[in-house]
């Protein structure tokens, strides 16, 4: 069943078109990795889906409901959550407060504060620590936990491993891949190997357009790399 559907979605930064008429479908339960070079339009696309950036054209449908004109907080209530690039925790608030903000208006669902602390055990010991005092990995886990607390049907994670140490990246991915009640995932990842390991499908963006879309089992790292650098013919979006 299609959970998210983009129909010719366009996103702009001023006069620059970052994402031109993107069409894409994500099935419920799927894990989709979005890869591409800097400036390919990955973050803009995620922010547009989440409502943090306005769509300049096209339609965004969540489970058949047109959410294109809905503000970000209403999309959260409908089951969309974004872990933004740079984590964007509330720096002056503690870990517990960051999580409590998300839990206050959460949808009905499997994730609660208790369950988050049981799953993200490292956060339990950091409850009273200010977000600004956390390491990058701890911040990323807090940001993911915060997003999960809204009980999303579709979780968007922008730049999962950017700026994190290899150990922290391992910890974040281990948590992500072993989650019970994992929502549908759309993640932006610079690390191709990680993306291919975790996702069931990979989409490579080049200048805002889909250069490659395939099941991760059907493509090699070399093919994705070629698409990444624009060295191969573009395939039609699927």
């Amino acid at each position: 069943m299609t959970l998210l559907s983009l129909e010719s979605v366009t996103a702009r930064h001023g006069l620059l078109t970052a994402v031109p008429e993107m069409s894409l479908k994500i099935a419920e339960g799927e894990t989709l990795a979005l890869v591409g070079a800097n400036g390919a339009g990955k973050s803009t696309l995620l922010r547009t889906i989440a409502g943090a950036h306005p769509a300049a054209g096209g339609r965004i449908l969540l489970d058949g409901t047109d959410i294109t004109a809905r503000p970000a907080h209403e999309r959260v209530a409908l089951g969309l959550a974004l872990v933004p690039e740079g984590r964007r925790l509330f720096p002056g608030m503690t870990v517990a407060e960051n999580l409590a903000v998300a839990a206050r208006r959460a949808r009905e669902g499997p994730w609660s504060l208790t369950r988050v602390y049981d799953t993200f055990t490292v956060l339990a010991g950091l409850r009273d620590r200010r977000a600004s005092e956390l390491s990058g990995g701890q911040q990323q886990l807090t940001a993911i936990a915060r997003a999960l607390l809204t009980n999303p049907r579709l979780l968007l994670i922008d730049e999962v491993s950017l700026g994190l140490s290899p150990v922290a990246v391992d910890a974040v991915y281990e948590t992500l891949t072993t989650l019970d009640s994992r929502p549908t995932l759309l993640l932006v990842e610079q690390d191709l190997s990680r993306a291919l390991d975790v996702a069931g499908r990979v989409i490579c963006l080049l200048e805002g357009r889909i250069a490659l879309s395939a099941a991760t089992g059907d493509v090699t790292r070399e093919q994705v790399t070629e698409a990444y650098f624009g060295l191969r013919g573009r395939r039609a979006a699927t």
């Binding site: 989440a50 409502g51 943090a52 503000p71 970000a72 907080h73 959260v76 209530a77 959550a81 974004l82 933004p84 964007r88 925790l89 509330f90 720096p91 002056g92 608030m93 407060e97 409590a100 903000v101 998300a102 206050r104 208006r105 959460a106 915060r146 997003a147 607390l149 809204t150």
Partner: protein, 289 residues
């Protein structure tokens, strides 16, 4: 003892300034809006209470309690209808919007109530003039009441912001409104509540001013200046700092008056300027929180 008494009177006066500054500080802390109509909203609230007390014959306390929900509603509507739109126009637009609002309120009050000076002291009996004499110190009933109310309001609001879900949402929207929206917080509604609270505290402060001294349609800007000075002295956007800022301003004024009565206001302004120089000195462009 005279100097100690001057400091004590300054603390009581500072309570009134802190109460005035409370809403200004809250709106700046949450939305980064400097509400230039804050003083006029306070005077508007005071006029409503004065009208209810003198024209309807309502005792001042019930009149004030009746005016507070109206103030909350006015603040909420103001945010939803005017300020939310002006916030989209950049940093200067709310400044111009609230400046315009201040002029509208002043002229509306002038039209309705005339330029005459009014006071609630006539209907509050000994509250406005009575005091206790304790070991050579004067403790005015009204000064003590205002200080207790100011401490209660600012302390209560601080607790609400720190300990409640509503307060956490307000702090989250204040720190990063875009990210707050991404975790489901409707920034517009949170801002409207903040403005509602700010206008209600302004009404409270305006009413105490009308009991303490007098009000007229042009009183707002003066109160805005004192409130602004208290907010800056205490640290922009900090409620604890606002209370301290109000008290420092009050004490500075009474000590100035103790030296020479004409130095009262000047002493407060001087303290404000010194704090401004320290906070915004070339090496510290970012104000200390």
């Amino acid at each position: 003892m005279t100097w100690v008494n001057a400091v004590l009177q300054g603390i009581f006066l500072g309570g009134l300034y802190a109460l005035f500054a409370c809403g200004l500080s809250l709106m700046f802390g949450v939305m980064r809006i400097i509400n230039l109509a804050h003083g006029d909203l306070a005077v508007l609230g005071a006029f409503v209470v004065w009208w209810a007390a003198t024209s309807l014959g309502a005792p001042p306390a019930p009149a004030l309690i009746g005016a507070l929900p109206l103030a909350l509603a006015l603040g909420y509507l103001l945010q939803v209808t005017v300020l939310t739109r002006s916030l989209r126009g950049g940093e200067l637009t709310p400044l111009l919007t609230t400046f315009g609002l201040a002029i509208v309120i002043q002229n509306a009050l002038l039209l309705i109530f005339s330029p005459d000076v009014r006071s609630l002291a006539t209907v509050t009996g000994s509250l406005s003039t009575g005091s206790w004499q304790i070991g050579g110190l004067t403790v005015p009933y009204l000064g003590l009441l205002i200080l207790i109310v100011a401490t209660g309001v600012l302390g209560g609001l601080h607790l609400v912001l720190e300990r409640t879900g509503f307060g956490r949402e307000m702090r989250a929207a204040a720190q990063d409104p875009d990210t707050a929206a991404l975790v489901g917080v409707p920034a517009t509604a949170v801002y409207a509540r903040a403005t509602a609270i700010a206008v209600a505290t302004a009404t409270l402060a305006g009413t105490f001013l009308a009991v303490h001294s007098t009000i007229d349609p042009a009183s707002g800007p003066t109160q805005l200046i004192f409130a602004f000075e208290a907010v800056v002295i205490g640290g922009l956007g900090s409620l604890r700092g606002t209370l301290i800022g109000g008290l420092v301003l009050g004490v500075a004024q009474t000590i100035g008056a103790q030296i020479d009565p004409q130095y009262s206001i000047l002493a407060g302004h001087l303290v404000f300027l010194i704090v401004l120089l320290v906070r915004f000195s070339p090496g510290r462009l970012v104000p200390a929180a």
